[in-house]
Assembly symmetry: C2
Homo-oligomer: 205 residues x 2
């Protein structure tokens, strides 16, 4: 059976949500952070050498990286392409891939820097001088794209929405989305989805 | 004609290299950083709203994000799958996608933090306390994967090698790969490839 290795709290809840949207049969292996250091437990290194979450196991294969996991799960379990354009529609598929990799490749770093800034008074002014304009740039960009759309690519949810929701949710925890009602509304819509509610019931964030 | 928007110096040289490996017919639109701030020129914002490079234009579409650009170029211009597994070989393709997104999703952030640490004496100790162990973790992981292999997935170059080469090259500039002869040798091998030499001749890094 498909296993989702799920570190609480972190980005793997978005993989649980995807599994629920796909109505997959899966089990969760849960890991808790050290409450002092917030680090993942060493047992995750038994799953993958970097000790990272999310990771999945399926048919004897361990796979890491949220973006790759999304691509794999959709390739295997979404043959009707409800969650991604077909590659024969090449430009739509390319745009989908752009939005799928963008959250972690471009948006995460400045958010992470803001998180670090909260832990160091010495480093904070310098870190914020970089992260504040970058966060504004990216959240403005995402808000523009979402304007008038239910989801990042239009009227239908796609594989790209899971990573976008992750970085917006992280931005919310860091107090960075108050100026973007579009982003707040998007998060609220996604959290109200039955699949997200089921994911929370199983994954507990 | 395919246009590569290429900001010197930066990661877009790896997209030029990919275009040369694929023997594409393309033109380069070059941009130079402000020598004082090292920022990209505002003209890049005419190409894409984030003002980022690499970006490509093909058949009237503008596409950003190195990982998505690689996927698109291979989907369109590598029908024989010389640079990526076929999706029918699902596990090999999933592993390929994992290594394709990994450099920017996981390895870039700690390298970028080291780059920032070099610009701020106040922030440096704090930033290095995070980035140093992370960089060691990732470069050790990549070196293990490369041990005995010519390329990240084995004997043949693939789409995943362009991003991996980017983060290792960045690590080299930051003095972070001296302990990893495997990584140094991998960079040297890639830089000796005729397509890389042609990319440098056209893209100038």
């Amino acid at each position: 059976m498909l296993t989702l290795h799920h570190l609480r709290i972190g980005r793997s809840i978005f993989t649980v949500w995807l599994a629920e949207e796909l109505e997959l049969d899966y089990q969760i292996q849960e890991y808790l952070r050290n409450p002092e250091t917030m680090r993942a437990p060493a047992t995750l290194k038994n799953v993958n050498p970097l000790g990272r979450s999310p990771a999945i196991e399926d048919d004897g294969m361990v796979l890491c990286e949220s973006g790759a996991i999304t691509c794999y799960l959709l390739e295997k379990y979404d043959p009707d392409h409800k969650f991604s354009p077909r590659r024969t529609d090449l430009q739509a598929w390319a745009e989908y891939m752009q939005w799928l990799v963008y959250p972690e490749a471009s948006v995460f770093a400045p958010l992470f820097m803001r998180m670090l800034a909260m832990r160091s008074a010495e480093a904070k002014p310098f870190l914020e001088s970089y992260s504040a304009p970058e966060i504004a740039l990216h959240f403005g960009h995402i808000a523009n794209k979402l304007a008038g759309n239910e989801f990042i690519l239009g009227d239908n949810i796609s594989g790209a929405d899971f990573g976008i929701s992750y970085v917006i949710g992280l931005g919310e925890r860091l107090g960075a989305i108050a100026d973007y009602p579009t982003l707040t509304a998007y998060l609220a819509r996604n959290r109200a989805r039955p699949a997200f509610v089921r994911a929370l019931a199983r994954g507990v964030e």
